[in-house]
Symmetry: C3
Subunit: 467 residues, 3 copies
């Protein structure tokens, strides 16, 4: 452990004053801004009794809470347990995976409530929040968790907080452009969450390229039990994805349909992932990396279209393809990205979020363009695409075009934003670790003693890795 | 690890072409069949606005989605995390437990949507699906997960997929006979899911009897942390079982009642399990195998009767008895089954599902036979047992008789089906491992290196197991 | 392992007859008492069809089941997985943490249904139960799980069952005094659950003081993977706490508001916890003990006020403060309690539940005292504080006074009750382990063999702890 600390000194990774300062100042800022801006929406305010009467609601059940709260809790689990545990696959970075994800998400949801609130829930100088805002804040933070996957193990907690601050801001701007200016549908966030989040993270990790990362190569793998911990994350993401894609869809059939489409897509995705994982290995053995990640691509790839009349068999097709693309990505594309493009993508978010996100955007554009009044019904058609007011004259094909434009905008925002934020994170003041200390919890965490000694053994070439 | 591979050669366990072929062809078949048959039900279709008007529904809340979706998600967790992690107790088969469960369930739910759809949701040439179909598909797959418990560690993924194909088919036929022909009530599936699934699996494992299984005896145990992983599965099954038994009950009081009965039964079951686990050990120490499994018997045993007026104290009695029976089964019956009947039951599903399932069927028959208009109310009585149409003249005692017949039919289907499917799985083409390689992830999975060496040590008699 | 058993003999920890006897007799008592007293409430009874007509309800959705069941399931997860896994942080006490928590909670919910039923749901000689009773039973048991945290690793399962019996009784009395006699609001249980539970547990552990506990000091720490298991507990508690605090609030805006306030408080709490955890370590490294526990203080501290108009920024303030107080407690207060006051608090419940519980009670009193008709609306004001009937004339400031009195009553009940129960648990008949065998699963559990040898090594001073 001595050698480690020496290296830690070389690059000052001591967080003692920097991390507390950032956390406390930012939390103080949140309190002040919440104090000025954030209030309860009508459905969470004690005046609801009067509101109910004014709106002729006969039952408390009409409160949006009951339409969305179960889905909200599922989404909440996905963000904190899903993403957190998915990233525990590294043998010595479980604390950082779960703990830093916890930290950045807890900050991010506060900042997202404000940013998204200013854009979408601002009324008479106040942001009025309800359960839908909580879901959207979780969604926004989801895109940060995705980006975190690319830089996992290579960044300090302060860098993550700085990235969260900027990414949440950019996410909200991008989301506003897509949903309000382009009038695009993206309930499950293939474009706003996955495409944006993944390409943002990939750009950041490109800027933060570490040429000597092979020095910590021995810690980039998993151990048996860390792979099982990661499967907790995988399964919760997989199981609750129908809730994710349906959480903010319109009440009634749209939520119902989103859940079914996502369920189907994910089921198909598992089979094609297993098939290609086995096929691409010389001895036909399955690779946990694929099972942990590519099985989820089906959820990403129906993010835009799930609430549309994609149909169950359409979902199976999309899910099947995305599982194949994602698994191929892990085998062929990730090594290429690293060696040729210097993009070091720890969790392979390019395969799980970037490519499936693009597929999702494209499938959404096609599904929208192919919509007919026959399939949706006259009212259903208008309701599904919100073709009211100034959008009354939009046709499906025009909508499809705008959907496609949404992909392009998300990509541009991700590249530009990622480049700027990557540049900021490169400043030598944030306390990131040296290359040989990457993927190692001991830098930022008190680690139980008996395990430290294991690590020491790992670094000791005279002793076998596992005595 | 060399020795291992040599043995792997002896029996060709290489999945490289077989597994991908099966996965891809079957997924293709699903896509085609879904394309021909499966469409959204009225409540998930974009025409819902019109439907709502036609049915005089005043609120989107009346959509079945809101009655059942929270329960659906709980059931989904039980199938994938519950069953998956429950089976991770083996020290070296965690990947297979979680991963193969994932694979077979993901395939099974697609095939179940079709099979059950043809029987129950077929209209004008189309299967119309909604959230209740998703729950039923998960239920059907639950019976496969149960059977998987008997053959855990001894079968190849292809065998599991083949078994799933046949078992889902047989399940659907059996379910149709019980629910539609015999007009039996079985909302929590004591008969259709547990009795059928368990005896099917036991018959299969009997046919696949391996005389030399003691060669892999050292891997049939658990290690400390694998037992904790298994407890994740146990607890999620235990906690969400009230959702399982109430998920497809009638709206209102029936769902409410099912949840309460199941909650009570499970609570009682824990105490009797702990009591007998301690009592049956020489030193009074508790055995994790019992805690992981027998505590769940209470959920199985009220599967049929939970939605009936079983009453909370009735549930406590049923739960208490099933915990005792199940624990006794682990201590006395499982060794007997193995040594005398050549039934090698890896997870002890006979104790957790078969016997409690039978209890559940019998309790259901008695509870139905004992029903009176006084206890249920005139309308409640008719609604609870659906004594309408051609069943208008059924009396409780006749219903009780039909319930009992349902048990017998389920048993017959399980034995006959299990024998046939076991025979098919015995064909030497599916790539199952040799006896000395059972319960070993390394055969079908890429396993992190440092752990392989542990396994090697285990096989090396010159070195202590834990250095 | 021999040495261990010798010590086990010295103090007879053999549970073989005692544990089964207690479990079976108590379960029998539950069955009899349930048989005499417990019946389904109107909404879970088959007469519901008639009830619906009598009450002019037009939809099954009006059944309380649909308002509360999703929250109930979340609370259920918190009690069994949340508390259970949170306590698995000890390297060799994971079975006991999860397993004994399972046992005491399963017994406790049955006894709580009766005790709380007699006080709150008693009608015509019967206790009528529904989903709200299940939630309240889980809540009551939550206070026992909290107390368990203080004595974790030092008590036998029988002692835990005896404590549960008494604590549930006292909890119910205290709850009745607060809610019915003082007419206090405490939906999330800052006073009834946390303050009472924690000070009760601390008093018990004070009475059970073990002067030689440093003999098992080597087992009081965590290992790498046990810390990750504990994070499962932490995250489920953290994520589902909004459900906990809103589960029994009034339908509509109150449930909605409670969830939002709790969400905000918990998010803020994570940042201040991380800040102080880093700040208080010489090298600025984060401590898993703080992250696992203090991040949850924000949920405790808004337990009383979450359903009031605390406002989102008020929640951020409360959450921030409680995170700081809790982390400071772990660093400075826990060692002080142990060395000076002889209070050995295994999980640090003083920091996670006692102090934040007091904060919660005080914040609740202030928020109630500061309530105005302007903020709540005329009807909302009356509804929020239930100022009807004999309480029609209560003013906010008087309510605030009663809220404060509720804290004092809870404290007195906890101290007095804890002292008595602690005295009972000190009797030498319950089979607790000797000091050198504390925090060791091997005393009460069959532990997988290869791990026993590890433990042996730990006790063997000639061999390094981790070879």
């Amino acid at each position: 452990a001595q050698g480690q600390e020496r290296q830690g000194m070389a690059k000052n990774t001591n967080m003692r004053w920097r991390l507390p300062l950032v956390c406390l100042l930012w939390e103080l800022a949140m309190i002040v801004l919440f104090g000025v801006f954030v209030r309860f929406g009508a459905e969470a305010d004690a005046h609801w009794e009067e509101e109910k009467r004014d709106m002729n609601l006969t039952s408390d059940m009409e409160n949006d809470f009951y339409f969305r709260y179960p889905s909200f809790q599922d989404v909440h689990v996905m963000i904190f347990v899903g993403f957190g545990f998915l990233m525990t696959f590294l043998k010595r970075y479980g604390f950082g995976a779960v703990g830093f994800n916890f930290l950045l998400a807890a900050f991010g949801i506060q900042w997202a409530l404000l940013m998204q609130g200013w854009f979408h829930s601002f009324k008479d100088g106040k942001i009025l929040i309800g359960v839908e805002n909580l879901i959207n804040a979780d969604f926004c933070v989801g895109s940060v968790c995705i980006a975190f996957g690319a830089i996992l193990g290579k960044t300090s907690p302060i860098q993550l907080l700085v990235m969260t601050l900027f990414q949440v801001t950019l996410f909200s701007v991008n989301e506003y452009i897509l949903l309000n200016l382009l009038h695009v549908k993206d309930a499950g966030g293939s474009m706003t969450i996955h495409t944006f989040g993944a390409y943002f993270g990939l750009t950041v990790t490109r800027i933060l390229y570490r040429p000597n990362l092979e020095q910590s190569k021995d810690k980039q793998g998993s151990v048996y039990h860390s792979d099982l911990f990661a499967m907790i994350g995988t399964l919760y993401l997989w199981m609750y994805w129908p809730s994710f894609n349906s959480a903010i869809s319109d009440h009634g059939d749209a939520q119902h349909r989103s859940a079914i489409n996502t369920y189907c897509s994910l089921a198909a995705c598992v089979l094609t992932t297993m098939a290609f994982s086995s096929m691409l290995q010389k001895k036909g053995k399955l690779d946990m990396v694929h099972i942990q990640n590519a099985t989820l691509a089906g959820g990403v790839a129906v993010g835009t279209s799930a609430e549309m009349m994609l149909t169950p068999y359409g979902s199976l097709i999309v899910g099947s393809i995305s599982g194949i693309v994602s698994t191929l990505g892990y085998v062929y594309f990730t090594p290429f990205l690293e060696s040729r493009l210097h993009i070091q993508d720890t969790c392979g978010i390019h395969n799980l979020h970037a490519m499936p996100g693009l597929i999702g955007g494209i499938v959404g554009a096609i599904t929208a363009a192919a919509a007919t009044e026959d399939v949706y019904g006259k009212e259903g058609f208008i309701k599904a695409f919100d073709f009211t007011g100034v959008y009354q004259t939009r046709t499906p094909s025009i909508q499809g075009g705008f959907q496609a434009a949404g992909i392009v905008v998300s990509l541009l925002m991700a590249f530009a934003g990622g480049a700027i934020v990557g540049g900021i994170l490169k400043l030598p003041i944030w306390g990131d670790a040296a290359a040989e200390n990457c993927f190692e919890d001991g830098i930022y965490w008190e680690v139980p003693e008996d395990e430290e000694s294991d690590v020491y053994h790992m670094h000791n070439p005279d002793k076998p890795a596992s005595p």
